[in-house]
Amino acid sequence: MWDYRDKVAIAGVGYSKLERRSDQTLAALTLEACDAALADAGLLRSDLDGIATSPSMPRYGGKKGVDEGIDVVTPWYLASLLGVTSDVQWIGSTNGMVTQSLIDGAMAIIAGLCDHVLVYRALHVPDGRYVNFESTHAVGTDQYLAPYGFSMPPAWAAVVLRRYFELYGYDRADFAHYVANNRANAQRNPNAYWRGKTITAGDYLGARMIADPMSILDCDIPVDGCCALILTSTERTRHLRQPPALLTGFAASAYQGAGGTPMNLEDMWDGAKDVARRLWDATGLSPADVDAAQLYDGFSVLVLTWLEGMGFCRDGEGLAFLREGHGDLGGRLPVNTGGGALGEGRLHGMTQLAEAVAQVTDRAGKRQVPGAARSLATISNGLAKSTAFLFSRDG
């Protein structure tokens, strides 16, 4: 059993405004989110002694720069923006997902290196069309993909959704309830990009096709913005402003798929099941202990592979589960209660983490699952760099 179960907690959550293209710099948006998280926790900038993120830019399409403060905000730069350069004991930066940074930050607290760690994800939408592969040369892994048109993540995800549909006899109509309901959840979340814009099942079925059978409404929306979390020890959190969300356990994946395609259904299941086994082993808990599941939805199909991979449904039954409303607020297992990335905007898993925290601290407002004691957050596609976290209510 994991010795550090429930010893680290989230003490504060902060968002910047999420906009399609902001007129503020990414640095300004990042400061807005970080200051909001500090204020939420009742801490000052000078209380921070650890900062971590994965500052990567999306690889595909558009004008890609690496200008500090414009395209990326690295933790070294953020320390100076916050004026805490001399207070920082530890900085973490990964080339994977920001959720690896959350694990690193938790370890820094467990190790006694840091008292208060800021983990944030700042994302900028570059100018230009997102999906275009603009070079006439394809190098590295792109050489096996881009010459065939496999140059954008929606196409990779589409082959997974297609296989799922074909193997189990579903079609897009079966997904319409979930997608519309998920957007309805976003209406109850003041942070969500899509607030004020409901969609119907008919809107979903008529949506513009990106990579058949995946439409624009099966993809999260790239936004300019930032979400930040403050980690500290559970003991310390109890003296702060908000009730803590205890980090009960986590698991990360190094599972490499078959190759030849960036995503495929069977490997995503296998990877997710691998993550699930280690998460349940680490926590001594099981799917039956989860009151709300925040499942990564950069693409809609990932909700299915996580739902099944984590053990909530058998393979192929996840879509029927969602279609019957079991994932709705008030259902057997409310899924993506804050709207997920489809409804909140693309923040690479931060939406799932922030919502899990909100649910176990009774701070989810109109979307609160009554008395939610445990909430799961899973991030990415089940393959290497994917992670899962289980958060618990204090006491």
């Binding site: 881009a146 048109g149 058949d212």
Partner: protein, 142 residues
């Protein structure tokens, strides 16, 4: 000079790891790496075997016979060079030699409505330029 209409699809820029694969394609042969320790076939080329960690992987011919694992249909060009090839079928095919030996490619010579999982396919070789041949797949000839 490119033989297709400009602008061109993105073309592979071979590297030391991939050069034997693309060289075989230019000869209209499909080659995959095979691990000398465990016999597992690998695609794309790997530096070490992801099954056993073995470091000796040699290219070997494979049949080119495959089945359709999954697909997506694009009606908008994924880059400008696809404008005259729409709708384009992006496919993942599973080679017959090994379970989950997957390859991303295009399907040619078949309509989207005729596709189904498990459809028998064979490798086809499309000479795009004098020094670049892409591996495509089409329905198995009867």
């Amino acid at each position: 000079m490119p033989e297709t209409d400009s602008p061109q699809r993105p073309l592979p820029l071979p590297d030391p790891l991939s050069e034997p694969f693309w060289a075989a394609a230019r000869r209209h042969e499909l080659h995959m790496q095979k691990c000398e320790s465990c016999g597992r076939l690998a695609y794309p080329p790997e530096i070490a075997c992801r099954a056993c960690g073995g470091g000796r992987l040699a290219f070997t011919p494979v049949s080119g016979r495959a089945t359709l694992h999954s697909w997506t249909v694009l009606h908008d060009p994924p880059s400008p060079g696809f404008r005259d090839r729409l709708p384009v079928i992006l496919a993942v095919v599973e080679l017959e030699e090994q379970e989950r030996l997957l390859m991303s490619s295009n399907l040619i010579g078949i309509a989207p409505e005729d596709l189904r999982i498990g459809l028998p396919l064979e490798a086809l070789f499309e000479d795009v330029t004098d020094d670049c041949t892409l591996v495509q797949f089409g329905p198995t000839e009867r």
